[in-house]
Symmetry: C2
Subunit: 188 residues, 2 copies
DNA sequence: GTCTATATCAGGATAGAC
DNA sequence: GTCTATCCTGATATAGAC
């Protein structure tokens, strides 16, 4: 079966899609390879044919988001007003990967995974530092932390599921800027 | 050993304290009863002597926070300006139970636990509705969700560990009110 | 590529000795 | 109250047939 050649990553993509859905419902630790296999209607061993370990699946699930983070950072560093544009870029990131954020932001398994992958941790650290700016006061640090948590949180919140992406994006950017401006050293 | 009588809940308290620390480091699902036992220097069965199931331990860990939530709700309902005082009360809650919040807010195991305990879910639902007010617009709903996520998030954030409780409390209340006022229908 | 079967291990939970 | 020993279940992962 399956014509020879052109076996592009269909199998892998199906696994990633199924994993993402289950992760967002039950968390990473709460999702077994058996569940992923069941939701695809295949056996466990077939999943292992596509990915050697569960960590490899996690990596594949979060890869697109991190690709976008890399892009955002490059873009931000070239911007004359980094913090202003970064707020909007981060909101776009959350909107684009709403499910992934909800599923992964606070999962302990993912945190361990990130800690063992230095480049990913470095990316996130850089994001935070850019948002904070140099020598931030306590108020600024609290506001930045609140904004970060809020970004992840709105994805998790099922109460907001009925709000469309455009509206959510607009309000998030606006409220996020309100929050950060209220803590800026050089605010107007 | 151990003199007869006066065996007050010392054993249980030690288990709860150890569990809280491990939960906050590794998440609930990532913490086994073996780990709790090891950190106490006892065997697994000794932990089971104090608590019949792991769920019972979870319940004991979050019980103080929920006790305070009940108190806050009663207080809020008697207040002439519920939303104003609720913001401060919730911040106090987070400050008082900083570790528990960090450990439990987003853990899938805890979410399942809450879903199976209706009164706990009802409490949290009531909190949200009070903060939202009647017939909230999308902006208000997003702001409220952001505030809720931010409350949990600042507990999780290790970057804020060095900020003392009083400062954190002040900034959280102030920034929280900024956020909510920016989305109030009847704002000044 | 998918299956069945299995090895290996860890988790929650219980029984019974001390 | 704590221990050792054990049961049962489910998880990751592998081997080898089809």
């Amino acid at each position: 079966m399956g014509r020879p050649g052109a076996p592009r990553g269909q199998g892998r993509d199906r696994v990633v899609a199924a994993a993402l859905e289950l992760f967002s419902e039950r968390g990473v630790s709460g999702t077994s390879l058996q569940m992923i296999a069941d939701s695809l209607g295949v056996g466990k061993a077939s999943v292992y044919y596509q990915f050697k370990t569960k960590d490899d699946i996690i990596q594949a699930v979060i890869a697109p988001a991190f690709e976008q983070i890399r892009h955002i950072l490059a873009e931000t560093e070239a911007s004359p007003a980094p913090q202003e544009t970064l707020v909007a870029s981060l909101v776009d990131l959350v909107i684009a990967h709403r499910e992934v954020m909800a599923a992964l932001s606070y999962d302990p398994a993912v945190r361990r995974f990130l800690e063992s992958h230095e480049e990913a941790s470095a990316l996130i650290l850089k994001l935070g530092q850019t948002l904070l700016g140099p020598a931030p006061a306590a108020r600024r640090r609290v506001a930045t932390s609140m904004f970060g948590a809020a970004l992840s949180g709105v994805g998790v919140d099922p109460n907001l599921a009925d709000i469309d992406d455009a509206t959510l994006r607009r309000e998030l950017i606006d409220l996020g800027r309100t929050l950060l401006h209220a803590s800026a050293a050089n605010q107007i």
